[in-house]
Symmetry: C2
Subunit: 315 residues, 2 copies
């Protein structure tokens, strides 16, 4: 579509993880991540997106109260002894990455991701803002989702990092369903948003058909990429963890709103795509020229209200 003279290519990969069981050690998981990183590098990818909470099983499905039991799922340093090999490999292979993990910062617990540069250093950190689910067990529910119990709301906003390759932003799982997430990054000129997720197949909002879980995941990515003229690389932890199935559907999505490549399996799997960042510029100069077309004077309610309220009085 774009002539070769204007194209600005960036080779992205997404490394989906299959299930991580409770008995799996950090070391075992990191070995899997290393294999995926090497696979991506061997294809020529410059950046790899790993999933949310990639180092352990998705523990918010359980209601735990013992603090030692809970804190076993959290990292107190990054890199730590078990994760350092990933950073070393990134530097050796010159491949940057996004990695999600549970972060213990003093007494505060966050659902966190880091952006690691192609030199193996941490460029920045994001802490999940749209924490879904509940703060306490819902009686009678077939499936619990207790993220609000284990994680504080992120306090770092939605930053965007200027790397030599692209402006890169991060978000985590449920953040992708909220257009505010991507708009705040779009207003910083983001080229690529990396996203990791754990999406239980059966955590439906009513008795909705289960296939809608995948539909909603892809719909959210596609609309966000289109409406903010950016590429999105989104990585699942997928498959059956501790008896609980999670969707796959890891994908790289273009600013056209098209899924360019996605995973086939619900297991460890790498996908990659050579992304043309110049397409972002075309949309930003035309239909999504924010300066020309946005009208913040009519958007006040987005900040004034948190929850929905009554219709406004009309002139």
């Amino acid at each position: 579509m774009v002539t070769s003279s204007t194209a600005r290519k960036l080779h992205l990969a997404v490394a989906q993880l299959g299930p991580v069981q409770r008995a799996d050690s950090r070391k075992q998981v990191v070995l899997r991540l290393l294999e995926l990183l090497k696979d991506a590098a061997s294809r020529g990818a410059a950046w790899v997106t790993f999933p949310e909470l990639a180092l352990t099983t998705f523990f918010p499905r359980w209601d735990m109260d013992d603090s030692a039991e809970i804190r076993a799922f959290f990292e107190t340093e990054m890199p730590g002894p078990e994760t350092r090999p990933l950073f070393d490999a990134a530097r050796e292979l010159s491949v940057g990455f996004y990695l999600g993990y549970a972060e213990l910062d003093g007494d505060r617990q966050f659902n966190t991701s880091i952006l690691v540069g192609r030199d193996g250093t941490i460029l920045g950190k994001y802490r999940k803002i749209h924490i879904p689910g509940d703060a306490a067990t819902v009686s009678g529910a077939a499936l619990q989702h207790l993220e609000k119990k284990y994680f504080a709301v992120g306090d770092l906003g939605f930053p965007v990092w200027e790397t030599p390759d692209a402006k890169i932003g991060m978000c985590i799982c449920n953040d992708r369903r909220w257009p505010e997430t991507f708009r705040v990054m779009g207003l910083q000129g983001v080229d690529v948003v990396m996203n990791g997720y754990n999406t239980p197949s059966g955590y439906v909002q009513w008795n909705e058909p289960i296939h809608l879980r995948m539909h909603h995941h892809l719909l959210s990515l596609q609309s966000a990429a289109y409406q903010n003229a950016c590429w999105i690389a989104s990585a699942a932890k997928a498959g059956v963890e501790e008896g609980s199935p999670m969707i796959g559907g890891s994908a790289i999505v273009a600013p056209t709103g098209e899924v360019m490549v996605r995973t086939f399996s619900e297991d460890d799997e790498v996908i990659n795509f050579v992304c043309d960042l110049s397409v972002c510029e075309y949309y930003r100069a035309n239909i999504f020229n924010f300066a020309a077309h946005r009208r913040p004077e009519h958007y006040g309610l987005i900040l004034e209200r948190t929850g929905a309220g009554a219709p406004l009085a009309r002139p």
Copy 2:
């Protein structure tokens, strides 16, 4: 999906118009609208959505400077002598409607829609906020789109009307591509958003494939309906007007993000669907419980910036 005891049904129709040529009179167009209204009523529909600028050809494709020539496309009263039969039919059939037209208010020109109740009275007015295109002819462009020349930015916000059937909001054409449009209405608890459009098939943003016009139209509607837990009824003026083709794809979209019914043709065509409004409530109580999950303290940039700027300084 929803048990019959909880369902809250509302029967919606969308009346797509085929092309309107410059020589077609208001009277001829209103006769077509009346046929479509009666068709919708005969199927049991309670509300009909007509297109944007439904009464004339899509004149912003032309660069005109003669004020008499321009103002021939605008309405100075609503209803006027030619449009009154529509209001009478609405009352007789007990069918409400959305109608888009070019509005002349003193010296101000707006791209406007009205919501007419099932009693034939005007419930409210919306004036298009996201005016696309250009304010002057772009030299060398194959197709001109001069909405910014002919229309002032709407000054009525994004209101929502509480009718006995549902909370109903309106937007027009390009508004549907902007998530802010629907979020402002979602924060007022909107159940149904009506939207009319004229979308030239060939007005592409770069040399993008023409099929993406339809993809972007539907993607915008689907994500907006899902992310705001509302139904959307969207009506095209379609087909070849004065040599210029426009997409069809009029649709009724559910809060699941699914297109439930859409038009087949690029001509006059009615589609209808019995919508269950209770589904809105399920989503609003769960994944899109705004009060529980939104975090406006991190959305500031949406109002602070109009255009995109540099990445924010990071903590």
